[in-house]
Amino acid sequence: MTVESTAARKPRRSSGTKRAAGAASAAKAPAAKAAATAQNAEPQLVQLLTPEGERVSAADNPDAAEFLSFVEDITTEDLRGLYRDMVLTRRFDGEATALQRQGELGLWASLLGQEAAQIGSGRALRDDDYVFPTYREHGVAWCRGVDPTNLLGMFRGVNHGGWDPNTNNFHLYTIVIGSQTLHATGYAMGVAKDGADSAVIAYFGDGASSQGDVAEAFTFSAVYNSPVVFFCQNNQWAISEPTERQMRVPLYQRAQGFGFPGIRVDGNDVLACLAVTRWALERARRGEGPTLVEAFTYRMAAHTTSDDPTKYRRDEETAAWEAKDPILRLKTYLLASGGADEAFFEALEAESEALGKRVREVVRAMPDPDTMAIFENVYADGHALVDEERAQFAAYLASFEEGH
């Protein structure tokens, strides 16, 4: 199923040169400017919209200049679209949290605070690109046109993933940390083999960066020069562990040692995330291989609804990040620049309400799966043992109906 899209979905076609695998040499790979940004010892953040809601110009910040060109085409309407995406995603997320509290879901992993990172990067994608998410990419799913209620099945416990990955080129959520970065890399190897100019994006977290699989994904993608963007949402926390437990220097710097560029972007700035992801995707399309994007953001909510962050983090920290809220800053800008009027916000509020209502209704109506579904889809070609157990279990269940 798809939802109506809004902003920034116009495909940005690549220059047209078909990728020749391995054509780009490692030495040439980093775009000069971006690499320079990424290599400074002091972590630099690409930012195009300040927390105060002001747009950054090339004059303000020469480092940002290159990336500004990647959002030149973004109209005010597009900005409203990005805003709408973030608001609706947040609303959906809040609704899911509420549904969990009401017992309709077993668990929920909130993306609160990470809307800009997800909408910015998600809106940078073309339809033929492919996404490998973690379990928290509800905003990216939204951008891909996955019906948000589809995401809830696994959290309700009626399935392990309720959508067909190939309908929206959005893979299933992956819970085991880091695994999907290798799937993305393999998929990207396939894209390159096919001579296609689409790209692949793999989402992962700051905690995930410690997993060996992620390093192996870096190695494979570097060696095969695969068209994949590694998009890390550094939300400062891996459950209760701050990033100091995972790394000693900023994560984006890790890419360089594997031979491809890494860059840190303000993950609460939807424009910057859009620009940087477009840049990275274009590198991939041009056959220049992988890029690591570190979106510096914050997990405003608990890790999941099972978590209690008061055990391990200070309120002041959360408060400080509230001031950097991704939605607020775009709203401020839209208001100040006249890009949106009250009617827009009111209409959006109504749309949010409607979305919330629909989500509630759909979830409450979600039927439990049939018991015999246990035996379905274990194998594509069948398996004698599954057949035997299915038959035995059916007979066992039938024995109750017969009144035994």
Partner: protein, 326 residues
């Protein structure tokens, strides 16, 4: 303390605390074991009292956790490692089966591997994928490892003590859905040996063998069967490597019938080994083939199906009936 009523979770916490107090070489390692006290709060308060040098929040990398624990053991430490959930042990599987299990033999006995790997396991808590698995057979098949699972607070306390004292690597499976079950723990008692089976309920018609979370189900089944006049003996195996076949044999020679119950898929689960070996040992005693009740040959299903997937009272009683019908 001495005798106190507490949950399995609390008993494990007390046991870890005792170990940290007793032996300065004992370390706790894992994801979120520090301030948070683990996602199940088993290590609650331990970092506060013993410091970050002894209760160590690790990077999010299970192979790294077990691999560095091996190195720490080589240096003379006794790491107690927590794997956050059953389904997340596999990134560490290589280090466990290739290094941890074999190091003592490789070194002709010259180094020891006193590492405990604690794994909250099995289902029944309504969780998402990978949070409800029972991979014990995948460890019990591997020479060099010991594999145990307590079913009650007293065993939780004492078996963990014994696992930490053991000079061999012990994979310690904690029945997560029983964490909040309470029972008496006597911290002065002299416990059974770590690998001895225990008759949890005496009976004469048939034996049910289980461990960890399924002991409770078997006890309930035995109680239900008693109402129908069937005398069911329940053996809590406690250890899956080694398995106390001597103890189990005594029970089966008495009852002449055996049903093994576990959550893991039946195919190549521990029940397979128990059936094979008990049949060999008790060939002329058995009135019925050893029957097995367990998970199906399918990935652990979504939570809304787990009640059907998991062995429950009815499925156990069905097997009891089938056995008795021979």
């Amino acid at each position: 303390m001495a005798v106190e009523k507490m949950s399995i979770a609390k008993a494990l916490n007390e046991s870890l605390r005792k170990a940290l107090e007793t032996d300065p070489k004992v370390l706790i390692m894992g994801e979120d074991v520090g301030k948070l006290g683990g996602v199940f709060r088993i290590t609650d308060g331990l970092q506060k009292d013993f410091g970050e040098e002894r209760v160590i929040d690790t990077p999010l990398a299970e192979s790294g956790i077990v691999g560095t624990a091996i190195g720490l053991a080589l240096r003379g430490y006794r790491p107690v490692v927590e794997i956050q959930f059953d389904g997340f042990v596999f990134p560490a599987y290589d280090q466990i089966v290739t290094q941890l299990a074999k190091m003592h033999a490789r070194a002709l006995g010259k180094v020891k591997m006193p590492v405990v790997v604690r794994i909250p396991y099995a289902g029944g808590i309504g969780a998402v994928e990978h949070h409800s698995e029972s991979p014990e057979a995948l460890f019990a098949h591997v020479p060099g490892l010991k594999v145990v699972s307590p079913s009650n607070p007293s065993d939780a306390y004492w078996m963990l003590q014994q696992a930490i004292l053991s000079d061999d690597p012990v994979i310690f499976f904690e029945p997560k859905r029983r964490y909040w079950d309470k029972g008496e723990v006597d911290t002065d008692a002299i416990p059974d040996s770590l690998h001895t089976a225990r008759v949890a309920r005496e009976g004469s018609d048939i034996t049910l063998a289980a461990y960890g979370p399924m002991v409770k189900v078997c006890l309930e089944a035995a109680a239900a069967a008693a109402e129908e006049g069937k005398s069911v003996e329940v053996v809590d195996l406690r250890s899956m490597s080694p398995i106390d076949f001597d103890g189990l044999q005594v029970s089966v020679e008495k009852t002449r019938r055996l049903v093994v119950v576990h959550e893991a898929p039946v195919f190549l689960g521990t029940g397979a080994e128990i059936a094979a070996r008990i049949t060999e040992r008790c060939f002329y005693h058995l009135e019925a083939p050893v029957l097995r009740v367990g998970g199906f040959h399918a990935p652990y299903p979504p939570a809304r199906l787990e009640d059907e997937y998991l062995p429950g009272l009815d499925r156990v009683l069905d097997a009891v009936d089938r056995s008795l019908a021979y």
